[in-house]
C-alpha cells in the first residue's frame, strides 16, 4: 500500500506535466501550410 501510494504521489504531477507538454506540442502536428516568406529569402 505504501509503495503504491509513493509511486502515485510522484506519477500524478509527472503525468500532469507530461499532459501539458503534449498539449503544448500539438500545434506542431496541426501546422497549416505556411504563408510566410519562402525559406531562403533574406
Amino acid at each position: 500500500m505504501k509503495l503504491i501510494l509513493a509511486w502515485l504521489l510522484v506519477f500524478i504531477p509527472l503525468g500532469w506535466g507530461l499532459t501539458k507538454s503534449v498539449q503544448k506540442s500539438l500545434p506542431l502536428f496541426r501546422s497549416a501550410p505556411s504563408v510566410s516568406t519562402p525559406i531562403g529569402a533574406k
Binding site: 505504501k2 509503495l3 504531477p13 506535466g17 503534449v22 506542431l28 501546422s31
Partner: protein, 465 residues
C-alpha cells in the same frame, strides 16, 4: 540544555544512521523518494516562465512594456543557479556522502524552497540583488545538493541495474521541467489581479508545494545496510573489467585519467544537446516556417516552434530512463558510443531534412538526438559506479557535474556565436544553422574519442580493504 558538541541544529532522524533500512525494506520505495526530490529541483529548467513577470515587477514596469533589458538582468538568476548547481555538487559531495541522503535532501529543501521565498521577497522589495541571491545563489546550492544525494543512494540500492535506477531519478529532473513551467503559469493566471502579475504569490505557493514533495522524498529515502545486496545477486566483474568490484575515493578519483575522460564525455554530450535544445523553437521556425509580417502568422509560427520545443522536452525526459536502462544491458561504454556515433550521424542529417523541407524527418531526428542528450545525463552516475565503485560515487558525481556547468556556458555560446557570424555573412537564416549542426558533430566526435580511451582504473587508486 544539551552539552556542548551535541548536534543542536540537526535532529537524530536526519542522520545517516537513522536512515539505514531494515532487512525487510522494499527497495522500490527509494525511486519515488528520489523522483520526488528531483522533480522539484528540475523546476529550474522552467524558470524562463518567470522572466517577464519578474522583470516587470522588480523594475516597476507594465508587463506589456518592452522588457528586453530587464529580462536579461533577471535571467542571471537562472544562469547563477546552474553555476551554483555544479559548484555546490562539487564542493559538498563529500559532506553529502558523510551525512546521508535524508539530511542532504532536507538541506536541499531549505536552500531551494528558501530560495523561492527569498525570490518572492526580492520581488516584493523590487530588489534584483535579492532575487539573484535567493534564486541563483541559495536556490542553486539546493539544486546541487538535491541532484547528487538521491542518485548515489539509488546506485547503492540497485547494483544490479544502476542505469535504470539513476535513469528514474534523473528522468524526474527532466519531468520537473515539464511540471515547473505550466505550474507557474497556471498559478500566475490564478493569482493575477490587474497590474499584479501574481508572481510573488506563485513563488510562495510553489515553495509550499515543493516543500511537500521534497520532504516526502526525505521521509521515504533509506540507505542500504553495509554489505547489503539484492537477493540472489553477487557482484562480478564483467565487460572486460569495465565494471570494477573495487572502490576509489573521491580524492583519488579525480587524479585518474578516467575521471577527466568521463568529464569530457559528459561535457561534449551536454554541449551538443543543450545548444539545440535552447534554440529549438527559433531553429524550427527559421528552417521551416520562414519569416512573416502578419501578426496572426507570427503567433502561429511561435506556437508551432514552442510545440517543437515541448516535444523535445518529452523526449529529453523519456530518453533519460530508456537509454540508461539500455546501458545496463549493453554496458556504459557501448551506450555512450551509440550516443556519439548515432548522434553525430543524425546531426549530419538535419541539414538534409531542412533542404528537403521534410518536417517529419527533422522532428524525428531531433527527438532521437535529444533523447540521447537526456540519456547522457542519466547514464553517467552508473558509468562512475562502474569505474570507481559505490564508496564515494555521489561525491565523484558531484565533481563531474562541473562538466555540465561548463557545457551550459560553452554550448549556447558556440551555437549563438557561429549562427550570428553566418547570418552576418549573408547566409539565409534557414541555412545558417547548418554550420552549427556540423560543429555539434565535431563535439560528439571529441566525446567519442574520450569515451574510447576509457579503461579500468589502475589498482594503485583503489581503496585498500
Amino acid at each position: 540544555m544539551p552539552p556542548l558538541g551535541y548536534p543542536l541544529a540537526v535532529p537524530h532522524f536526519l542522520d545517516r544512521a537513522a536512515t539505514v533500512a531494515p532487512s525487510d525494506f522494499n527497495r522500490w520505495l527509494v525511486p519515488p523518494a528520489a523522483i520526488a526530490a528531483h522533480m522539484c529541483i528540475g523546476q529550474v529548467y522552467g524558470f524562463s516562465v518567470f522572466n517577464k513577470p519578474l522583470a516587470a515587477e522588480i523594475f516597476g514596469k507594465p508587463v506589456t512594456a518592452n522588457l528586453a533589458t530587464e529580462i536579461s538582468h533577471v535571467q542571471w538568476a537562472y544562469s547563477l543557479a546552474l553555476i551554483m548547481l555544479g559548484l555546490s555538487a562539487a564542493v559538498f559531495g563529500k559532506w553529502v556522502e558523510r551525512s546521508g541522503p535524508r539530511k542532504t535532501i532536507v538541506a536541499s529543501w531549505l536552500c531551494f524552497c528558501g530560495g523561492l521565498l527569498l525570490t518572492a521577497l526580492g520581488v516584493q522589495l523590487h530588489s534584483l540583488p535579492l532575487v539573484l541571491f535567493g534564486y541563483g545563489f541559495v536556490g542553486g546550492i539546493g539544486l546541487g545538493l538535491g541532484y547528487i544525494a538521491p542518485v548515489s543512494t539509488l546506485v547503492k540500492w540497485f547494483p544490479d541495474r544502476p542505469g535504470m535506477a539513476t535513469g528514474m531519478a534523473i528522468m524526474g529532473f527532466g519531468g520537473g521541467a515539464l511540471i515547473g513551467s505550466p505550474l507557474a503559469q497556471t498559478l500566475m493566471d490564478f493569482f493575477k489581479v490587474g497590474e499584479d502579475t501574481g508572481a510573488i504569490k506563485t513563488l510562495v505557493a510553489m515553495a509550499g508545494l515543493y516543500s511537500f514533495f521534497m520532504l516526502l522524498g526525505a521521509v521515504l529515502i533509506r540507505v542500504p545496510a553495509d554489505g547489503w545486496h539484492p537477493q540472489g545477486w553477487t557482484p562480478k566483474p564483467k565487460s572486460g573489467g569495465m565494471i570494477s568490484v573495487h572502490h576509489v575515493s573521491v580524492d583519488n578519483a579525480w587524479k585518474t585519467p578516467q575521471f577527466w575522460l568521463l568529464w569530457i564525455v559528459l561535457c561534449m554530450n551536454v554541449s551538443a544537446g543543450i545548444g539545440v535544445l535552447g534554440r529549438a523553437s527559433d531553429m524550427f521556425q527559421d528552417m521551416f516556417l520562414g519569416t512573416s509580417t502578419d501578426p496572426a502568422q507570427i503567433k502561429m509560427n511561435a506556437a508551432i516552434g514552442a510545440g517543437f520545443a515541448g516535444l523535445l522536452s518529452i523526449f529529453n525526459m523519456g530518453g533519460r530512463f530508456i537509454w540508461s536502462s539500455i546501458s545496463d544491458k549493453t554496458g556504459r561504454k557501448a551506450v555512450y558510443c551509440i550516443y556519439f556515433i548515432l548522434g553525430a550521424a543524425l546531426y549530419a542529417l538535419l541539414p538534409w531534412a531542412q533542404e528537403t523541407q521534410s518536417k517529419v524527418m527533422f522532428v524525428a531526428l531531433a527527438a532521437v538526438i535529444i533523447s540521447m542528450y537526456g540519456g547522457g545525463f542519466a547514464t553517467i552516475p552508473a558509468y562512475l559506479k562502474d569505474m570507481f565503485g559505490t564508496y564515494q560515487v555521489g561525491a565523484i558525481h558531484g565533481r563531474l557535474i562541473t562538466a555540465w556547468s561548463m557545457a551550459a556556458v560553452i554550448g549556447p555560446l558556440l551555437i549563438n556565436k557561429l549562427y550570428a557570424n553566418r547570418v552576418a555573412a549573408g547566409i539565409p537564416k534557414a541555412e545558417a544553422y547548418n554550420g552549427t549542426l556540423y560543429l555539434m558533430c565535431a563535439l560528439l566526435g571529441i566525446g567519442l574519442i574520450a569515451n574510447l580511451l576509457v579503461r579500468p582504473v589502475a589498482a594503485k587508486y583503489h581503496v585498500k580493504a
